[in-house]
């Protein structure tokens, strides 16, 4: 069990059956009251943030949470197969868990996977991926003002809106958090 002196950023605890990680904490103490640690926790399953005041002496239950560096191998129907780079163990994770970014994943992409009770609960991709454009209509000449975009398909099959000057064969940088085009990368 943890007590308030163990609280630090990144500490993983179990509350009401859910795994949480500490994102912020502060010592507070009313003049005539007990010391508390005002703590913000993020639910590792839902991302919801809760604040709780933990009194000194209260115990916190450690959560069986583990973070592992893994490599994306290949898709299998609606699932994605990852490999632990330290022991070559393979794990199958549903695309739903990854969210909209799952179609930006190219073979060998390094990711961070969070396990709760040995079950994968969260996958973090690199913030940016670099992918080649495989299909896109040519831009209409003269129409270059403002933020005019067109759809393009990249090598993983994902569709991304890109500026009109992007052509087939270009490599583009994409933000995996927003699924948006960032810039063209010269090769």
């Amino acid at each position: 069990m943890y007590d308030t002196s163990d609280i630090r950023k990144g500490l993983k605890v179990l509350m009401d059956g859910n795994p949480y990680t500490v994102i912020e904490f502060q010592f507070v103490k009313p003049g005539k009251g007990a010391a508390f640690t005002r703590t913000k926790f993020k639910n590792l399953l839902t991302g919801a943030v809760v604040e709780r005041n933990i009194r000194s002496g209260e115990k916190l239950e450690p959560a069986n949470v583990e973070t592992r560096d893994m490599q994306f191998l290949y898709k299998e129907g609606g699932d994605l197969v990852f490999m632990d780079q330290s022991n070559y163990e393979q794990v199958t994770i549903s695309a739903d868990l990854i969210g909209p970014a799952h179609d930006l994943m190219k073979d060998n992409l390094p990711c961070t996977v969070v396990f709760f009770n040995e079950r994968p609960v969260d996958v973090t991709l690199p913030t940016f991926v670099f992918l080649e454009v495989t299909a896109s209509e040519p831009g209409v000449r003269g129409d270059t003002s403002g933020n005019v975009t067109k759809p393009a398909t990249v090598e993983t099959g994902a569709s991304v809106n890109v500026p009109l000057f992007i052509r087939i064969g270009d490599t583009i940088k994409i933000d995996t958090r927003t699924h948006e085009y960032v810039e063209r990368v010269n090769k």
Binding site: Q26, F27, V28, P30, K32, N53
Partner: protein
């Protein structure tokens, strides 16, 4: 002295220059090779004005203080001078009681620092009350106090307190002292009675008008308004726990009365008080939180106690002082029993204080105010460390 010469003390070396603090300003002066920080010097050639950024030297992290910190220490000195002037003008005598004592405060939630075969004081209260009993009527003291294990943006284990007492006076007199003192000290430092509160490091400070009189809230009204919890003061702990839970605040079944109260207070009332743009006198505390206060005449559930809150900083705590020696001994014995039950160190009862009360403590009221926190408010510091000459981590 040649025309244009600048005299002062070397604050820091900056290569071939030195930053020299003169009577009214800091300047960059071409330096002789032998000049060292602290030397009194005179320089002929002023190279260029010092821009007010961090001093470039001394070269080591340990020896260097940021410009901001030096400014805060100047503000601290100004504040202390204003504080002493305030009390002198009102006929208070400055006293200086020992910090090493055999019996520190017995309050349940204060732990003392051991020193030799005694303890360092958590507040100078007991000794100052003996002085009141001995016949001093209006006294104040500025001193270091020590509370083990307290460390945070508003807490350092060693801190500076100003404590003052008025014999033959009411708690209301202390309210007026507090409002006037804070307004005067803040004005001395900031030029106007406008305190500044920085909620998080890096954020711009908020302004809080501290001119008297301050808004007043009773504790029960504040708990009802912001936490949705009715507090009687004589209900069993289990009943308060139920009320706190009903308000949506998680507390365990076996929570003690005071812990249930503060769980709700910290979750709801404290943030609400912090958001106000005026100071607050929070008064009429329920009797389980009376500490050394007497109860309100005709209302045994309410203690004559107030706290001053400014922008989320708990600045001061005041009592209509308990003067009944039998009641005082009973509370001390109760505190000892509770400390023992909760596995905390049990300090001896200060029998000399009880004797002094029996001899006759005049009806009186007193208050303890955190000086470092007051200077935080006057300067807009985000943490107590910013107003200390050296924070605990820098020693």
């Amino acid at each position: 002295m040649t025309a244009g010469a600048f005299r002062g003390r070397v604050l820091a070396r900056d290569g071939e220059y030195a930053i020299v603090r003169g009577a009214d300003r800091d300047l960059r002066v071409r330096a002789a090779g032998s000049w060292r920080p602290g030397d009194l010097v005179q320089g002929d050639e002023v190279a260029r004005a010092f821009d007010g950024g961090d001093y470039p030297g001394p070269a080591t992290e340990v020896a260097r203080l940021s410009r901001k910190r030096l400014d805060r220490l100047h503000a601290r000195g100004t504040a202390m001078a204003a504080l002493r002037r305030f009390f002198a003008e009102r006929g208070f005598l400055e006293v200086d009681t020992p910090v090493l004592v055999p019996s520190p405060g017995l309050e349940l939630h204060l732990d003392a620092v051991r020193a030799g075969d005694g303890y360092l004081i958590t507040s100078p209260e007991y000794q100052m009350k003996r002085l009141l009993a001995a016949g001093l009527e209006r006294i104040y003291q500025v001193c270091k106090c020590f509370r083990a294990g307290e460390r945070g943006p508003h807490h350092a284990s060693e801190f500076t307190m100003v404590e003052w007492y008025r014999g033959f006076a009411e708690l209301e007199d202390i309210v007026r002292d507090t409002e006037a003192l804070v307004a005067e000290v803040v004005t001395a430092v900031a030029g106007a009675p406008i305190a500044r509160v920085t909620d998080r490091p890096g954020e711009p400070p908020r302004s809080i008008d501290v001119s008297p009189p301050w808004p007043r809230w009773t504790v029960r009204d504040a708990m009802r308004q912001w936490a949705g919890v009715e507090v009687a003061g004589d209900e069993p702990a289990a009943e308060l726990v139920r009320a706190v839970r009903a308000a949506g605040i998680a507390v365990a079944d076996d929570t003690a009365w005071d812990d249930a109260f503060f769980a709700a207070f910290l979750a709801r009332v404290d943030p609400a008080l912090a958001a106000l743009d005026r100071p607050v006198i929070l008064e009429d505390w329920p009797v389980p939180l009376a500490a050394l206060a007497r109860t309100r005449p005709g209302d045994p559930r309410t203690a004559l106690r107030f706290e001053a809150y400014i922008g989320g900083i708990e600045l001061a705590n005041a009592f209509g002082e308990l003067t009944d020696p039998a009641e005082q001994r009973a509370r001390f014995e109760h505190d000892q029993a509770t400390r023992r039950a909760r596995g905390k160190p049990v300090y001896p009862i200060d029998d000399k204080l009880i004797t002094a009360l029996a001899e006759g403590l005049p009806p009186c009221a007193g208050i303890a105010l955190g000086v470092d926190r007051l200077i935080m408010l006057a300067t807009g510091a985000a943490a107590i460390d910013e107003v200390l000459a050296f924070a605990p981590g820098e020693l």
